[in-house]
Subunit: 314 residues, 4 copies
């Protein structure tokens, strides 16, 4: 048995980092930093990029800013790798508007969460994904992220939507590895051909053993090459290398635990942005309102972790 089940023709797999959005000090899109970030990803050999995900701060952007990001990224990437585009919004009708915008940027896939804010059940979630799929010929991906939307997508429902041609893939950021394993097994048994990617930076190795087709790790913005090496090793079934890379990346992930008194993306994305500033990729570590940038003390601790990982000189 091979490591992974076959996915549908044309569906991207492998390492598809959720692209950060660098900002200038006054909160505008920072194009030079974005160019350096994309170059770093392409140089590392990533298999695609996920634009307007949670790590990309899409939830904080108005429509104009989302479109500005899409325009800039597609311009810089220029078709060198496929793009997944996020359409995160509260309920179906706004998400469909984002789909319409996304379509104009030739996405390899469109990535949608379950509805949120207003509580919905399985029937509404089903209608939601079917309505999004019907709105565009682009392949639709489900983004399973209960920490943000407070609903867990069930493996059986995902596979059912896959079998019906509604979904092409799943980005699993659920933190529920038991559920992920069942998703892989159900997908394989049903021959659905869903692309199954994990979003959890420090347990990608286990997801590969379970049959994941790739990863969407926020930390890959800081160190894409490690995730690419890990994926190639996993596809070659060289598990010793997989583990060594994962252990190193897990040590690097400690940057997100350095900020004091911060939670959510203010801590996590804030740490990624600060690391990239320290590495000379970003000009600032500015965050979207209402989040403040990390301060000097947090940055010093992040530098120490980067040095420990040999990404910076100590």
């Amino acid at each position: 048995m091979t490591a992974t089940a076959a996915v549908r023709e044309g569906t991207p797999t492998g390492v598809i980092p959720p692209l950060l959005t660098p900002l200038t000090a006054d909160g505008e899109l920072d194009i030079p930093s974005l160019e350096r970030l994309v170059a770093r990803h392409l140089d590392a050999g990533v298999d695609g990029l996920f634009v307007l995900g949670s790590s990309g701060e899409a939830a904080f952007f108005d429509d104009a800013m989302r479109e500005r990001v899409l325009g800039a990224v597609t311009g810089i990437v220029a078709g060198q790798v496929p793009l997944l585009i996020g359409v995160i919004d509260m309920q179906t009708s706004r998400a469909i508007q984002h789909v319409r915008t996304a379509e104009r940027f030739s996405p390899a896939g469109i990535v949608a969460t379950a509805p949120f804010y207003a509580i919905t059940g399985p029937d509404e979630i089903d209608t939601h994904f079917r309505a999004l799929a019907a709105a565009s010929p682009a392949p639709l991906w489900a983004y399973d992220i209960p920490v943000c939307v407070h609903t867990k997508l069930s493996p059986a429902h995902l596979v059912h939507l896959g079998a019906d041609g509604v979904l092409a893939g799943v980005k699993d950021s659920s933190g529920d590895d038991v559920s992920f394993r069942r998703l892989v097994a159900m997908d394989r048994a049903a021959g659905t051909g869903l692309a199954l990617l994990t979003g959890h930076e420090v347990v990608v190795d286990g997801a590969y053993l379970a049959g994941a087709h790739g990863s969407v790790p926020g930390l890959a913005n800081v160190e894409p090459a490690g995730y690419v090496r890990m994926h190639r090793a996993a596809m070659a079934e060289d598990w010793e290398t997989v583990r060594t890379e994962q252990d190193r990346l897990a040590a690097l992930f400690e940057i997100v635990f350095q900020p004091v008194g911060k939670v959510g993306p203010a801590a996590g994305v804030g740490a990624f942005k600060t690391a990239l500033r320290e590495l000379g990729v970003f000009t600032t570590n500015t965050m979207s309102t209402p989040m403040a940038a990390l301060g000097d003390e947090d940055a010093a601790h992040i530098r120490a972790v980067l040095a420990e990982a040999s990404l910076l000189e100590a």
Copy 2:
């Protein structure tokens, strides 16, 4: 001691129902039904209306639909009662866009939740409300609704924002009556003058005893007169009448528990819309996508509750 602390000049209090949004069978705004609904509220003597709240399905609307609703409601209400306008959205920048739109409709107040989807802490919530207040001269209200945004606003923080002139009032839909009582007491002790309204249909009487200035009950769409009578009795300290009205309204609220296999607004708002259709106020009980309207069996159970409450003939 009077029942309630004084609020700031010009801040609406009393019964301010969260206005439902009637839809035609194909999901468009149903103006004739809206006219009947508003007339029912005005005839009952409500003190204001809350437009684009959770019960108004604002979370399901795109910007054009939100603006259509505002235009229609302000046209129909024509200044007869003050309007609170909701600006529910994920994070600060989109909420500010909704503030800009709301301003054009001369709101008596603008109602915003804490940020959601992306996890935020007290610092970000503080920045969020201050940024919204700075964006408009209209008075700002905090909408405390943890069941939707998954963050509880602390009484101390709310009073602090009130003392700083950021907030004019609070719509409490937290279900945490201990917290609400502390909010009333802290506001009174600090002399902040926040208007404090409860959103919980069946325990408004206790909130009045605690010192609430009014209520924002979704059920008032079905029976505004009862909530108006309860509020007048509370202000007159006629608690026997308060209780009698509350008990009757609590019995009527059982309509939201009739739908089988539905959760959230599909059940609750669905029951309100179905009741209003049965009462001849709405033409349909259509819900926003991805929610389905309630079916005949649920409607029959709702009719039975309406008959029990003497709103319909049995």
Copy 3:
């Protein structure tokens, strides 16, 4: 309509404080302090006492300590008021053992939670209460405390168990006042005759409006007279007095928010014990292992609240 529905013959109602358990500095039961505490309750005119509840630290006691507390309390109370006895334990078989012990102390009622630790559903909860009721002729009460057992008892289930003669009453510490109001209404509609007591110190007034038969407030250990006055006023439908007493008690309840860096009973029961030490009722504020007693700084803040409430000289 009278304020409350009739309860079954012999079922205690009114103010039934959950009795604290004073400890000596080395953690033994402190009899002289217990005598002073009980005398304070009896002098205030309480209608009963709830022994071995959460506030009584029963969860922290081994069986011998539980029995020592029961022996001491029944000796001191000497039948002057009825006793409810808690049988809090993980699952049915241990709870039945506690029922056997409780029976020897002539309880007016036995108070049991839903099962906890191992997850159970409605079927198991039903079997649990029926097995406990079958184990003893003493009336059984359900203790609805989801913050500890992580299951909410549904009003419909409680009324069903009441109608079947399994339950005589409910101590509601759920914090869900919507559910409590539905419980009162369902009990009244079904004529079940359940005694319905609330455990929430600062919203007892609203519970009385809703039809509660009494209260089980931990804070009544510090100020039983206020709760007794509030209950008598409620039964006389003198709501202005109810509110005045509740506002005063709510201000006093702020003692539980004074401890810094503590959660759960270490903060709440710790504040009650510290207040009673400051009032000269308890000799120490010692807590059960693994909880530490509150320190001097917390005690100073608690004294300030007591002084504000005129229970201590400033």
Copy 4:
């Protein structure tokens, strides 16, 4: 780098199944079934047994039943493999009583959860484990099971307790694989020598990649040989075999999803017991009160999964 860090001298690692407790139809300990179950484990080559864990229904037993189980198991095992003994109870004092009992059965380790029912914070949890460790010379293990105790033990705290000699190992049933990986890394960095076992049946392979020393899988009661083969393969770094075994066991784990209308151990342990009855190891599938045994329809679905896994003839 080897797969796992060294543990302390004498600390058991490897496959240590949480032993089920077979019951007769009238709820008594079923000794012949227990003998067959233990023999099955020993024949498969397990490295130890965990007695009185959650899967062993310890939460449902009174003290006499717990002691009966310990007596029977130690008699049957007769020192052939080391035993870990659970001391699950609400708070410190009762858990210490269980430690005293456990000591009499020469445990290789004693396994305790965080306190539960009453809410506790990090200070109380720290005191709790230190008090338990002080109560006995037997090595103490922390049992991280937030689904039951509603507190997550932090990796940093566990390693700190390990470094202080309080803990010898951790049984991780948290479902939080990110936390587990950090625990492994922190333990390795600090040289604490904690034995780190995972309790999650279907992702043991990932835990081995992360550096787990073994597993405590409830499903191993049904198929110990597979878990033993997986562990040996992991120690030999034969990851292809690890994955193949894990995939097969994950398919077998589907038995726990067959029961209809059941949750918690009534479903999970109920499925294990039913499978063992179908395999001829247990005489009945009786569950502890208040849980009902699975019925014929559930058993038929479980048989189908067993047949699919070639454990039964179809």
